[in-house]
């Protein structure tokens, strides 16, 4: 008996690190991977309010891609992602390069550019909703400034409402891109810039021909993070438009929760969640792979 106890203790001691690791691995296995598998399974059933476990084939996916609202959501996601990505990166890169010029009060400016990241989308969405509202918001501001026929009703305009989400999203996230690029620029050996100066390169050439090409990994990272943010975007839309006017600003994340919790079509909702998951995975897996490879090379 004592013998057995001794061996148990020995075993415990030897495997202590793995035992300590177990909770994290267990929780993540169950609550992330297990749950994704569950969602995946349910997407192949015909569950309504309660999950049913008989398989029903790919019917939910067929139905999903015939659902008008989902198609609008996907369209909106594409428009939003493309604009959000391009504008955030352009603004972020410009701000980073400008801030890199030994600017007075750089710290203050950096703080100002980045503070939206510390706020929730609900808070900023509430603010933007007020700013963009067609009666007392921006429109009134411009009319007061003398532009009497100025109208700005994007928030309540079916065609334009999606762009208000872009405005608020860019406002929230471009500081983040700036921070990434600034960190990237600062990590570059300054002898390279010196060498280029002696070679006679203008400031523009230094950035365009030498530094920006060196930022390729940062572009890649920003791309991945921004796409990821845009696919997941939910709070901002809830706060700003609730998917409206009508369903004109629906996005996949909103579609998913509405289908599940308001319409009680659990299986259809699961199918949409799996579509979102696959979209994110398509971007993230190559990213993680390349990051890991880079680390192994080092």
């Amino acid at each position: 008996m004592a013998f057995l106890l001794f061996f148990m203790l020995k075993w415990l001691e030897k495997n202590l690190p793995k035992i300590v690791l177990a909770p994290a691995v267990g929780l993540i296995s169950w609550f992330i991977y297990g749950f994704i598998l569950w969602t995946f399974y349910i997407s192949f059933t015909n569950s309504k309010i309660l999950p049913k476990y008989e398989l029903w084939g790919v019917g939910q996916y067929v139905k999903l891609w015939k659902t008008h609202k989902w198609l609008i959501a996907v369209d909106n996601l594409l428009i939003f992602t493309v604009l959000f990505l391009i504008i955030c990166i352009v603004i972020g890169v410009i701000l980073a390069i400008f801030l890199d010029q030994k600017i007075r009060a750089e710290g203050v400016l950096r703080t100002v550019y980045l503070y939206p990241m510390a706020l929730s989308f609900i808070v900023t969405g509430t603010a933007w909703k007020w700013i963009l509202n067609p009666t007392l918001g921006i429109q009134k501001l411009f009319i007061d400034m003398g532009f009497e026929n100025f109208t700005f009703d994007w928030l309540v305009n079916r065609e334009m409402a999606i762009y208000t989400i872009v405005i608020a999203g860019v406002w929230q996230s471009s500081g983040f891109v700036m921070a990434l690029f600034l960190a990237g620029l600062r990590s570059i050996d300054d002898e390279i810039v010196k060498a280029a100066k002696i070679d006679g390169a203008s400031l523009f050439t230094v950035y365009w021909k030498i530094l920006i090409p060196m930022m390729r990994p940062v572009f890649f990272t920003s791309f991945v993070i921004l796409v990821h943010i845009s696919i997941k975007s939910y709070d901002l839309i809830v706060a700003l438009t609730q998917g409206g006017p009508g369903i004109s600003t629906t996005m996949p994340a909103l579609f998913m929760t509405q289908t599940a919790f308001h319409k009680s079509q659990v299986a259809l909702s699961a199918a949409s969640a799996i579509m979102m998951f696959m979209a994110v995975a398509a971007v993230i897996i190559p990213y993680l792979y390349s990051e890991l490879r880079r680390e192994n090379v080092r």
Binding site: L21, G34, L109, V112, I122, V123, V280
Partner: protein
């Protein structure tokens, strides 16, 4: 070329570079300040609006300064009007959020620290796969786990409760906290651990006596990151709680959406500021750490 012309050409080069430099500088500052005002504009509008009265809001525009500092909207946003049903105000939900954030931040940080410690200092075959396995959790769209999570919370009897949200946030924070601690501990020399083992320290002693005391910076980064994420979360809050157990973001959204009679923008703005205040203050006081979390969450190492 004679000496004089060379000197003159040097002089010309000097003058030209001086003028272009000066112009460039002005342009630079102009653009930077332009963007700064774009970023500061919503915050400014929120603040002035929150201090105005409703008639003032209707008469003026976004930028007009309040005629006097009017604190009534703040009081209404925080404590309500004092009549019973339908009177939503933030105070209880603010405390809900605090009660949710503190334990969730603590658990996720602690688990992340232990996990990061094992993954870097007690390496075993396949450990980088385990890391990748955990890391992937940073990126999954939570929509893919919402449905089973809602059911699980129901089965456990903690749906629509603060405890339920604590559990959810603790679990889904682990990938991030692990990432932070792992990247920090990788940079700490293994010789330190070897020396401690030779001196006879065991697994837990090394962690608590040697690593943890030098982990302050990364603990600060992680705590700030988790605090900001959990405080600002809306998806989990809105999905897994309603009514009295809701966190502040959900309450704020409900307040703004509830269109009882006339929209009171000043109360909305005051509420939004109250809901954003804790994270904003943390950001202003410890922005350095916040940015570090942000960038190290994105670019590893």
């Amino acid at each position: 070329m004679s000496d004089n012309t060379t000197i003159a050409s040097y002089k010309r080069l000097e003058d030209r570079s001086k003028i272009t430099n000066l112009l460039l500088r002005w342009f630079l500052y102009f653009i930077l300040i332009l963007f700064a005002s774009y970023f500061i504009f919503p915050l400014y509008v929120m603040l002035v609006t929150a201090f105005k009265t409703m008639p003032e809001i209707r008469q003026g525009n976004l930028l007009t300064w309040p005629s006097q500092l009017n604190f009534e909207s703040w009081a209404v946003a925080w404590g309500g009007r004092g009549y019973g049903a339908g009177d939503t105000f933030l105070r209880p939900y603010f405390w809900n959020s605090i009660k949710m954030v503190v334990p969730a931040v603590f658990f996720s940080t602690f688990i992340g620290a232990m996990t990061g410690y094992v993954l870097t200092k007690w390496r075993f075959k396949g450990d980088s796969w385990v890391f990748l396995f955990l890391l992937f959790g940073c990126f999954i769209p939570y929509q893919a786990i919402l449905l089973p999570m809602a059911r699980t919370l129901g089965v456990l009897g903690i749906s629509n409760s603060i405890l339920g949200l604590v559990v959810v946030h603790s679990i889904y924070g682990i990938p991030f906290t692990t990432l932070f601690f792992r990247n920090y501990y990788v940079s700490i020399p293994n010789e330190l651990i070897k020396a401690a083992r030779i001196d006879g320290a065991g697994f837990f002693k090394i962690f608590f006596k040697i690593l943890l005391p030098i982990s302050t910076p990364i603990i600060v980064v992680t705590v700030i990151w988790q605090f900001t994420q959990i405080w600002n979360d809306f998806l989990f809050g809105a999905t897994f709680s309603f009514g009295e157990a809701a966190p502040i973001q959900v309450a704020l959204n409900n307040m703004v959406l509830s269109s009882t009679s006339v929209k009171e923008y000043n109360v909305d703005m005051a509420s939004a500021i109250i809901a954003g205040f804790p994270t904003l203050i943390v950001y202003v006081l410890a922005g350095k750490y916040f940015i570090r979390g942000l960038t190290s969450g994105a670019v590893k190492g």
